[in-house]
Amino acid sequence: MYGPKIEAQLKAKKIVIGDRIRVQSQGGEFEGLLMPRPLSGDLEILVLKLDSGYNVGLSVSDVSLIDHQSKKSSSPGASDLSSDSDDPSGAVSILGCGGTIASKIEYKTGAVYPSISASELRASFPQLANFNVRSKQVFSLFSEDFGTYHWKLIAKEVEDQIKKGAQGVVIMHGTDTMTYTACALSFMLQKLPVPVVLVGSQRSSDRPSSENEMNLVNAVYAATKDFGEVSVCMHATTNDTYCHIHRGTRVRKMHTSRRDAFKTINGKPLFLSDYGNSRFESLSPALPKSSKSDFSFSDKINENVAIVYAHPGLKPSFISKLSDYDGVVFVGLGLGHVATNPFNDPNVISVFDEVKALNQSGVATVMAPQTISGRICMRVYTTGRLLIDAGMIGDGADWTPEAAYAKLCFVLGQTKDPKKVKELMMKNIAGELTSCSVFDSDE
């Protein structure tokens, strides 16, 4: 962690992190606690915590030990949780997968790191005491590090909890890819007999202003309610007042940092959840719970799928290189377009031939909207019609790019027959496709 010069001094004097030390520096002599070195910056600058609590970086000429650190355990109330996850029957199962909601500062790197176990979290939030909850750490990662492998782990664990009789399942998840996971789980876990609620937080749990407690408590609250689909519970507004429960296939992270980043696209959220005031209101129809015997689970997922963002100047050679994939989602322009040059203008670079070639070689191509809101309508302009002819799937779909991607992974996990792929893609499975775009005067 520290550079060789400081490390040598520390080692020679048997000084470890947290010890009280005295240092000589240009500005004089200072006393304080030795802090870990963030990996960034000059490794030969020593970080000292002064008695005022401030950390300062000092270039030091000499370090001496005053006192060894007190051996105080700092883990909060872990003792009463040893019986965790024995029997989830009748309880809400909280699954930990990392993320900001369950993170604390990693002082070695100075970064926020997901490392609080679900059990610790349950101990940290007194309001959870009002619920019958069990918790289990599935894994702990930043959600940007997730792949289809992690979808499968989570889906399998949810299935397990449901089979063991859980009343509902809450999944603590990083917010970056939460909507991808929500979409994937919506396809992998069908006809759910209990609510499955993903939850995260935009402010890390090491901040007094973190909205994690409110989100988590409302997620658990929602998991005790009467509906049967995969959903996401996050802040509805910038205020710490209530949450929205979004349909897993319709929700999207629409802001990099705000608490209310998560929005339902092309529709209204399923519920308003306000545990503090015992309020749980329906905002749009949710699927009822299915019977346990109807519940189906599939972890067949094809991970060989790519997303391509259409843009002016998209190169044909780039599209050709996608032939190694089994499926490609185009996040297209406008109603669902990429450059096809229908007027044969000599100055236009078209990717039409390459898209057609992909389809002919058996790569499924699917269109989703760059505008996020609205429906793919490829029948309107020649470009769209050409793409349909080339084999592009998606005309009439009002899915989000994430839903289209997760669905293609799922569908290609079930079949590779192009005809069946198209048929399955265009059939609504979990609310990702609707037949009617309702006019919302609020928007």
Partner: protein, 597 residues
């Protein structure tokens, strides 16, 4: 008695961790409100800060007024931007003036503050330099540290379970200068505060006006402890506050010795429900509580008779200290046996019943709380905690206008600080230092001004908020006395008469640039300036009000028309002629034309 001072001064740059303007006005109306809650978190040392815990017990809701100069950073909806370079450079330069050593690397910390005054629940703060000193008439006073931090949100209203703040000032950079406890007495305290304040103002880059500078003082006495007093607005009050606090600590130490001699600590009394005694009471405070479902709980304090009523500050007793701790649990206060209980309307019969229920002996005291049972129990637990303190507790106290102080919260400890991971640490490189202009020291500045002006005007100018305008005018070649007089006398007189300047610096530069061209005379400066307050350009003013300097042939004509009478000419045309020029011309004409002799 040991005294130290912390000076917080707002800097006149944009905000510390975003690009929003620091220009705020009390008249501005909020554009919307947001609603938040906060909760305590563990520090990097794995501890929860005492001050945070005590705030959290109140479980309050926070409302924030959002203003035009707020962005998502102040709303705690976006990570902070990198530290403002202008603010950092200014603090580097002030550090040099206070002889402080810069740290090698700046680590921004989060100082937990969960009273709602910061949307994030912490104040971002960073030590920039250490170990400086300021010279005073009573020797050097050490500067322990100089920090750069964010201003908090301004409080609008505050109640038991809710507080409202305005966010416009949140994030304005503050320099925090903390001295060592080297200050000798009240006069010395004032001298140090004034000297540092003057030095800050003389940079010309700090904010001016009400609330832009705040002084907290730290006081400890023999046998006492460090107590921080916040919110002293007036420098004149600092000495009195320090004396009052030293006195409070001395009185507390006396009480502690007395309690020790009685060998009564630790007290482990349990609270007792006294509600039934007051079922049909006529004591209005208690009756009102009972009607709204409150309970009355009591606590025995053995051998405390007479102690609770002991005055430790003017008008405040040892019982007040208990009451302050009880209030942390959300109750309104306590009733104790050293008070005249009859004034509450409590009958002697009721008192006797209470004494018997609590087994109060002749040397004992008791405390009662009227509140809902949970709050009342928590309050009495806090009273017990305070009663068992065999020492003067470290506290943050609020300065009252009468020179006394009121308990705010336990003094925050190390656990209150943890690293702000959203902001990478900033190395202080030679490149950074080379871009910093180390300002002139205040003493050097004073002696330079004394060479330009007389001693009185130099002293006025040194303290003036227009010092930077003066410097600029002198740079333009304006005579220093004229510049200083215009800024400190003419402008002040015009303001008194209701003439305001929207941009004084711009007006002054325009006025004197024209003056340097010889377009008007010195005597006309106040008159020209007066008309410029309305936003008129200087050339327009000269034209409309006929204030152009008369010179050449026109002046010759004027002189001869007035019979070469200097005093008549000056009387009639004072604002348009240069007396030296007139007098020269008069001399010349008289010489040439004997008729004028």
């Amino acid at each position: 008695m040991k005294i130290g001072i912390e000076i917080h001064q707002r800097l006149n740059t944009s905000k510390l961790f975003c690009n929003c303007s620091s220009d705020i006005s009390e008249d501005e109306k909020p554009i919307c409100m947001i609603h938040r809650r906060l909760h305590p978190v563990l520090s990097e040392l794995g501890e929860v800060d005492e001050a945070s815990k005590s705030e959290h017990l109140k479980r309050r809701d926070f409302e924030y007024q959002v203003f035009k100069n707020n962005c998502l950073v102040e709303l705690d909806e976006e990570p902070p931007h990198p530290m403002n370079d202008d603010a950092l450079n200014l603090v580097l330069s002030i550090s040099a003036q206070l002889n402080a050593t810069l740290v090698s690397e700046i680590h921004t910390m989060r100082k937990t503050v969960i009273d709602g005054s910061n949307t994030s629940g912490f104040q971002r703060t960073a030590v920039i330099s250490l170990n400086g000193h300021v010279e005073t008439s009573k020797g050097n006073v050490g500067i322990t540290s100089i920090a750069l931090e964010e201003e908090s949100a301004g409080i609008i209203s505050n109640s038991e379970n809710q507080a409202t703040y305005r966010l416009d000032r949140l994030g304005i950079p503050l320099i925090e200068i903390s001295t060592a406890p080297d200050i000798k007495d009240g006069d010395h305290l004032r001298e140090v505060a004034e000297k540092i304040g003057l030095m800050l103002r003389s940079t010309g880059k700090v904010a001016r006006g009400l609330g832009t500078i705040r002084q907290d003082i730290n006081v400890s006495t023999e046998g006492g402890t460090r107590v921080e007093i916040k919110g002293a607005q007036d420098l004149k009050m600092l000495g009195e506050l320090a004396k009052g606090e030293a006195n409070r600590q001395t009185e507390l130490v006396k009480i502690i010795f007395e309690i020790r001699s009685k060998k009564v600590l630790p007290i482990d009394s349990l609270s007792v429900d006294l509600t039934s005694i007051f079922k049909s009471t006529s004591a209005s405070l208690i009756k009102k509580g009972l009607d709204s479902g409150s309970s009355i709980l009591g606590l025995l304090l053995p051998k405390h008779k007479g102690l609770l009523g002991r005055e430790i500050q003017s008008g405040k007793r040892y019982g007040t200290e208990m009451s302050d701790y009880a209030k942390l649990a959300g109750v309104k206060g306590i009733i104790h046996s050293d008070e005249q209980l009859e004034k509450y309307g409590i009958t002697s019969g009721e008192i006797e019943s209470v004494k018997s229920a609590l087994s109060v002996g002749s040397d004992d005291a008791f405390v009662m709380v009227v509140a809902n049972e949970t709050a009342a129990k928590a309050a009495l637990k806090n009273v017990l905690v305070r009663a068992n303190m065999d020492y003067v507790p470290g506290e943050t106290r609020r300065a009252n206008p009468d020179g006394t102080t009121t308990f705010m919260r336990p003094i925050p400890g190390k656990a209150r600080m943890y690293p702000e991971t959203d902001i990478p640490c900033v190395p202080i490189t030679s490149e950074l230092l080379s871009s910093v202009s180390v300002g002139e020291s205040i003493d050097a500045k004073r002696s330079r001004l004394e060479k330009l002006l007389n001693k009185d005007l130099a002293a006025t100018m040194l303290k003036s908020r227009n010092l930077h305008v003066f410097e600029k005018l002198v740079e333009l070649g304006v005579e220093p006395m004229l510049a200083a007089n215009t800024l400190e006398n003419t402008v002040v007189a015009l303001r008194r008469d209701g003439f305001e300047f929207t941009d004084l610096e711009k007006t002054m530069v325009e006025l004197f640039s024209e003056y340097k061209k010889g377009s008007f005379v010195k005597a006309a400066v106040p008159e020209v300036l007066k008309y410029m307050t309305k936003g008129a350009r200087v050339d327009a003013v000269l034209k409309i009000y006929r204030l152009h300097k008369i010179t050449g042939k026109d002046l010759e004509k004027l002189v001869s028309d007035n019979g070469c009478n200097l005093s008549v000419i000056m009387q009639k045309h004072r604002l348009q002629v240069d007396p030296a020029e007139v007098s020269q011309l008069v001399g010349k004409l008289k010489c040439e034309n004997p008729a004028y002799r």
